[in-house]
Subunit: 409 residues, 2 copies
């Protein structure tokens, strides 16, 4: 890792010349903390840490660009290792060629992936490879897998979480065998899915939970589903969650964005952009939630909601790739193989589509009436598309040319 | 900028080897986009862009560490310039020594600062020097300075914003002279303070706004303050906001964290850590809000709330510097000169202090009864501190040694 050091010495630097203290971003100190894993040192290293973070990489090639990309990942890992130095987490690199046997033993199959070993569990990190995202991911992994609710205010906090899957169970005490099964199940999904529990009758009553019952909350749905046939074994809980893991409306999150993106339906995603902290974005998200609630039983529908605020560096890339303006809400269909896309025409952010209009549009997407291939002939000449566009409310390449029908006539 | 290129070629890289398209983080392409500003090219460059982003730096020294820090800032700026290439924003460097005359003319005084020129306004960026934070800051600056509310759902979105200052005005139309004054005032605070307006009677009624009235909302307060003596000139609005800019409870935000930190009261900050998405953190924040509402008229009180989730890379730095555990809520006093600190003893996150206990503690801080200097003698030997600690509920260096009274007896 020698070369890498000189390059960065602190990407997250820069507050050193101030008179105040208290907000000093860490700068990489140049120490080697990430080591190469071999069959020889494997057992010893594994024993040493609660958590082992492994970067499984292809052999470093002679290609300069590839080398630089590799160095950058190394630096990100070194900085993360430094920041988490006292948290009992080990960081290693596994060379896919040199350590093929070890990798096979560990079940690693995708080069360029980051895995975490915790006890006998292997967790794949499939999110943004950035120091802050990784640090948060690892800190979440060393917390307790189940969060206990004790008070009314904590129930309020629980109820406020609407943009991700959550489960809550009511048990007699921490010693209950059913709570233990729940805890074991929670570990299988940590840190991606949040598990809560209560031992308090008042809290259970507020959440309409019976003893040993576990409720499953799909994101953005008002009512939970009680998992049937309580009490449950760990396996039953795990199976239920796996079956219900793809919600009707899901938020793209930095910590598992690539996993979500890979989980497409028939090669496409219905993608909605809405900035939650913006009035128009909030309004559009409310309409989306309404549509999701109406269609929660349709297994063919899973809308990916992206809040541009979560991905500042991708905003202009998306605007260019999808030919849309992200200062206002958007919904479209994206082909995940080539990022070809078609977007619903929203002429004005003060005139957002109604839930009904959105449902009609989604129906047209699911039936194939609206498809990313529609406009591929007419890319140079939109006038030919008029009949299609008017029917479907479609708007694909038009924005780029700035000559939509409204403007011209 | 030649040297810098080779170093990074993409910090935010790494999705290039995937089969899917649609989530490609930008990688720095090596092109020079950030230019050096001189008196000669100044006017021409200024004319060329809507927004000009200037990094005012001390002369690059021969010191290697300083050079590297400078290069890293350059790379961050180059990446930001690349990402925002089509947004009509210019990026320049101003050498404090070579261009001393120009810098003086521009009113730059703090080396290492980033300034943005927009029209005849100069905005200082005093936040985290990271590409994503900067991109979001600049995108916010090119949006309209006033957000218009048109519907009930948009009012809901407006009401949900509680953690920052917001203003809203009711005007006849966009052509109203009073609206124009409001808009001009908004530009003075963009993007740090959000200004909203409505031209809709229904919206105004819902918010209890009279014609030409502007309401000022302090963060976390239920009720706004109507700015007196409507209608207002731009200057009156600006003056009012400046006078009320320091709230009783404020969130530390990446985009202006250093500015907030510099705005200490008598050299100290009362700092509260609470993770909003965690039940304990949420509960603690609710208690803090209660305290803030009770004490909103005390100009001596301004609590800085930090959500650790907003600053993953600082979590372990804070834990080490302040000797606290950030998996649970904390409140303390921090001396901003040396980061010396004293923290309230919260034995268990299931037993958070009540609002009354918190108010007593804060009173002791404001009266000087609790101070960061209290424990400085006893740093090696906490047993001597017993009498103080019991009275004040203080907990400073104890955690580090792991021998608080509770544990021992």
């Amino acid at each position: 890792m020698k070369r890498a050091h000189l390059l960065v010495v602190g990407l997250y630097l820069l507050s050193s010349c101030r008179a105040e203290e208290g907000l000093n971003f860490p700068t990489y100190d140049g120490k080697d903390r990430v080591v190469s894993l071999t069959e020889r040192n494997f057992k010893q290293i594994l024993k040493k840490y609660d958590l082992l973070c492994l970067y499984y990489h292809e052999p470093v090639s002679s290609d300069k660009v590839a080398q630089k990309q590799f160095q950058l990942k190394e630096i990100v890992l070194e900085l993360v290792a430094q920041v988490l130095e006292h948290k009992d987490i080990g960081f290693v690199m596994v060379d896919a060629k040199k350590e093929a046997k070890l990798a096979k033993k560990l079940g690693f199959d995708e080069e360029g992936s980051l895995y975490v070993l915790k006890g006998d569990r292997t967790i794949e990190f499939d999110g943004e490879f950035a120091a802050d995202v990784l640090v948060e991911f690892l800190l979440d992994l060393i917390e307790d897998p189940v969060e206990i609710l004790n008070s009314k205010l904590e129930v309020q906090a629980f109820e406020r979480i609407e943009d991700q899957i959550k489960l809550i169970g009511f048990f007699k005490s921490e010693d209950s065998e059913y709570y233990k099964a729940f805890e074991e199940a929670a570990e299988q999904f940590q840190p991606y899915i949040k598990f809560f529990a209560t031992f308090d009758k008042g809290v259970a009553k507020k959440l309409s939970l019976k003893m040993n019952e576990v409720d499953f909350y799909e994101p953005f749905m008002d009512e939970p589903v009680a998992i049937p046939d309580k009490p449950y074994t760990e396996e039953e809980l795990v199976e239920f969650v796996k079956e219900h893991q793809r919600p009707t409306l899901r938020r793209l999150r930095p910590e598992d964005m690539f996993e979500t993106w890979e989980d497409d339906l028939n090669g496409i995603h219905i993608v909605a952009f809405a900035e939650r902290n913006d009035p128009d974005g909030y309004e559009f998200l409310e309409i989306l939630k309404h549509v999701a609630r109406d269609n929660t039983n349709n297994p063919e529908l899973s809308i990916v909601w992206i809040d541009p605020d979560d991905f500042p560096l991708l905003i202009t890339y998306w605007e260019k790739t999808f030919k849309i303006d992200l200062f206002k809400p958007q919904i479209g269909v994206v082909n995940v193989t080539d990022a070809d896309s078609v977007w619903m025409e929203i002429p004005d952010d003060d005139d957002l589509p109604t839930a009904e209009e959105l449902e009609d549009w989604i129906e047209d997407v699911l039936s194939g009436k609206i498809s990313t291939e529609d406009d591929d002939d007419g890319e140079e000449d939109d006038e030919d598309d008029d009949d299609d566009d008017d029917d479907d409310g479609n708007n694909s390449e038009e924005e780029e040319n700035g000559d939509s029908d409204e403007d011209e006539e």
